[in-house]
């Protein structure tokens, strides 16, 4: 399966693409344009709801002071660590429970129970258990990321066609080979979907995490601004979240396209 070369199959359809590629940006541009128009004409009171230009200027001022880059970098660090730790645990558990019935019976119910606990309610526990330092924030993100990765990994592995596994067995593949050549590639689309979802959860959990005794990060910037009704910064933070979300989604999507080349090649042939 993994030996199929996809390169030849994808032949580019050149010119026609251009319009379609602009299409996703029509809505955001229209919204921002309309918002600016409403602000300039005085339809929106600038004190309660600042214009996009004011938000942009606020961003520039914060960037010049150095706080914006610093906070983004710090948030990115926390998010990445959380993703790595939570993602690994979720993946490992997912694989384990996907392959072993004993382990699944033992742990799946507990994990499903833990999954529905709102992250916000965990904050006091996290403070008591881990304190208020970086580990506390990173572990909250890890907890958030763990579940989507776990569920999708488990689901991906469980829904691999049993006939394929049986075929592998009859071909005399070892258990390890069956896993790496049949189960894992078969589950990969679902796993990557889990990753994509996890990237979204990662950012939302981080905001919650960054309200714990924090003096840095975008979540801190947002809550701090909220305390003093600094609408420009509040909206700036929202925009940054949206952009970071889109960025991580872009990465996940490209990862999907690259890792699942064989699937696209197949689709292109049909």
């Amino acid at each position: 399966m993994e030996n199929v070369s996809p390169v030849a199959a994808v032949t580019p359809k050149k010119k026609k693409m251009n319009w379609n590629r602009l299409l996703p940006w029509v809505l955001p541009v229209l919204i921002i344009g309309g918002w600016q128009l409403a602000s300039s004409t005085g339809f929106l009171a600038s004190k309660t709801f600042p214009s996009p230009v004011a938000v942009f200027q606020d961003g520039v001022a914060l960037a010049q002071a150095g706080t914006l880059q610093r906070n983004i970098a710090i948030s990115l660090y926390r998010a990445t660590m959380g993703l790595l730790i939570g993602g690994s645990i979720g993946f490992a558990l997912g694989v384990l429970n996907g392959v072993s019935k004993l382990s699944r019976n033992l742990t799946d119910t507990s994990i499903q129970m833990l999954r529905t606990i709102p992250h916000l309610s965990l904050i006091p526990l996290v403070i008591l258990a881990i304190g208020i330092g970086e580990p506390a924030k990173i572990s909250l993100v890890s907890i958030g990321v763990l579940f989507p990765v776990y569920i999708n990994t488990l689901h991906g592995i469980r829904s691999v066609d049993p006939n394929l596994v049986e075929m592998g067995t009859s071909y005399g593949l070892s258990k390890w080979e069956i896993f790496t050549k049949i189960i894992f590639p078969g589950a990969l689309p679902t796993i990557l979907m889990g990753l994509r979802y996890a990237l979204g959860v990662m950012w939302t959990t981080l905001i919650v995490a960054e309200t714990i005794a924090s003096d840095s990060g975008i979540g801190y910037m947002a809550t701090n601004a909220e305390d003093f009704m600094d609408m420009e910064t509040i909206i700036l933070c929202i925009v940054i979240y949206a952009l970071l979300g889109k960025l991580s989604d872009l990465i996940a999507k490209n990862l999907e396209i690259l890792a699942l080349g064989w699937r696209q090649a197949k689709e292109a042939q049909q």
């Binding site: 390169v7 208020i132 840095s216 909220e226 305390d227 003093f228 872009l250 990465i251």
Partner: protein, 320 residues
């Protein structure tokens, strides 16, 4: 897009991601030294925040062999939690969170007390609302924040006016929600403290119906530590009180600089901050008997109202 381009693009992207994350890591874990670290919790624009921004405090502590780390908190409850778990060594906090924490069995001690903020705390009503005395609040909706100094202020103001707590409609809102509710007229009065009172008075057409003066609520700042920490670090506590006192003297004598500093950190106009600063003084010293008495009054009032379940004797919780 060809596969190679996509691959390179993704690689560059991930590389940039990791680079930025590493930069963030270095920003958090700055270089540390061989000094004893003490961690102090604070909230925006409080005495510790002034000392932090002025910078002298940390310098002087460093000369004495301490590395001071400041941790900012959004509210008293989470700060108390952090103090309890040992994540911070000292906490600068308002007058009610310690009472609630003590009644729930947390072993804390008062290390220092600040000056009264009675003039900046009080009950706000809209100008021209027809409410001119506490008695007029009967049956009205009053916004407050549960278990904060506003809660005590309102209880005590009602008591002093000879009313009972069931005479008004209590609306528990956090400060930002209360500000909006008050502004939109969804509540008739709002009990709060500076800088919210000053903002409301200057920007929201509000006036103070009653302040914390005349023994209603002094709303002091306190510095707390856990009992065991304070017992082992009496010298550190002394240094902290002394140096904070220096900063408070500076604050009293340099209003222009202080106003610029606070208006920046609060994100409020200088006009508002000026009003706030000029109606209070700054001080920090060992727990005074007046402060102990005031805290006891809060504890007794909260106990009588059933807000705390255990009686608290404040004088048993003061650092020597």
């Amino acid at each position: 897009m060809s596969r190679t381009v996509r691959k390179i693009g993704l690689f560059v992207f991930l590389l940039a991601w990791v680079a930025v994350a590493i930069y963030g890591y270095h920003e958090i874990h700055g270089s540390s030294s061989g000094l004893t670290t003490i961690t102090i919790g604070y909230q925006t624009a409080d005495p510790v925040d002034i000392a932090r921004q002025r910078g002298d405090f940390a310098k002087k502590m460093k000369q004495k062999g301490y590395h001071v780390v400041f941790k900012k908190f959004q509210d008293g409850a989470s700060e108390m939690q952090a103090l309890k778990s040992g994540s911070i060594d000292y906490a600068r906090i308002g007058d009610t969170p310690p009472v609630t924490a003590l009644s729930s069995g947390t072993d804390l001690v008062y290390v220092a007390s600040g000056s009264s903020k009675a003039k900046g705390s009080g009950i706000l009503v809209k100008k021209g609302s027809g409410i001119t005395s506490i008695k007029d609040l009967k049956g009205k909706r009053v916004a407050y924040t549960k278990s904060t100094s506003s809660h005590f202020l309102l209880l005590n103001a009602l008591k002093k006016a000879g009313m009972s707590s069931s005479d008004i409609k209590w609306v528990n809102l956090d400060q930002s929600a209360a500000s909006v509710a008050f502004n939109k007229g969804k509540v008739d009065a709002w009990v709060t403290w500076d800088p919210m009172t000053a903002t409301a008075e200057l920007d929201q057409n509000a006036t103070l119906l009653e302040t914390g003066e005349n023994g209603v609520s002094s709303n002091r700042d306190y510095i707390l530590a856990t009992k065991s920490y304070a017992a082992d670090h009496t010298d550190t506590s002394k240094l902290i009180i002394n140096y904070l006192e220096d900063d408070m003297k500076w604050a009293n004598n340099h209003h222009t600089k202080l106003i610029t500093m606070l208006s920046k950190s609060l994100g409020l106009s200088k006009k508002v901050v000026k009003k706030m600063v000029e109606r209070r003084t700054y001080a920090m010293g060992k727990m005074s008997t007046t402060a102990i008495k005031e805290e006891q009054e809060i504890a007794d009032t909260f106990y009588a109202e059933g807000l705390i379940k255990k009686k608290v004797t404040i004088k048993n919780h003061v650092a020597d």
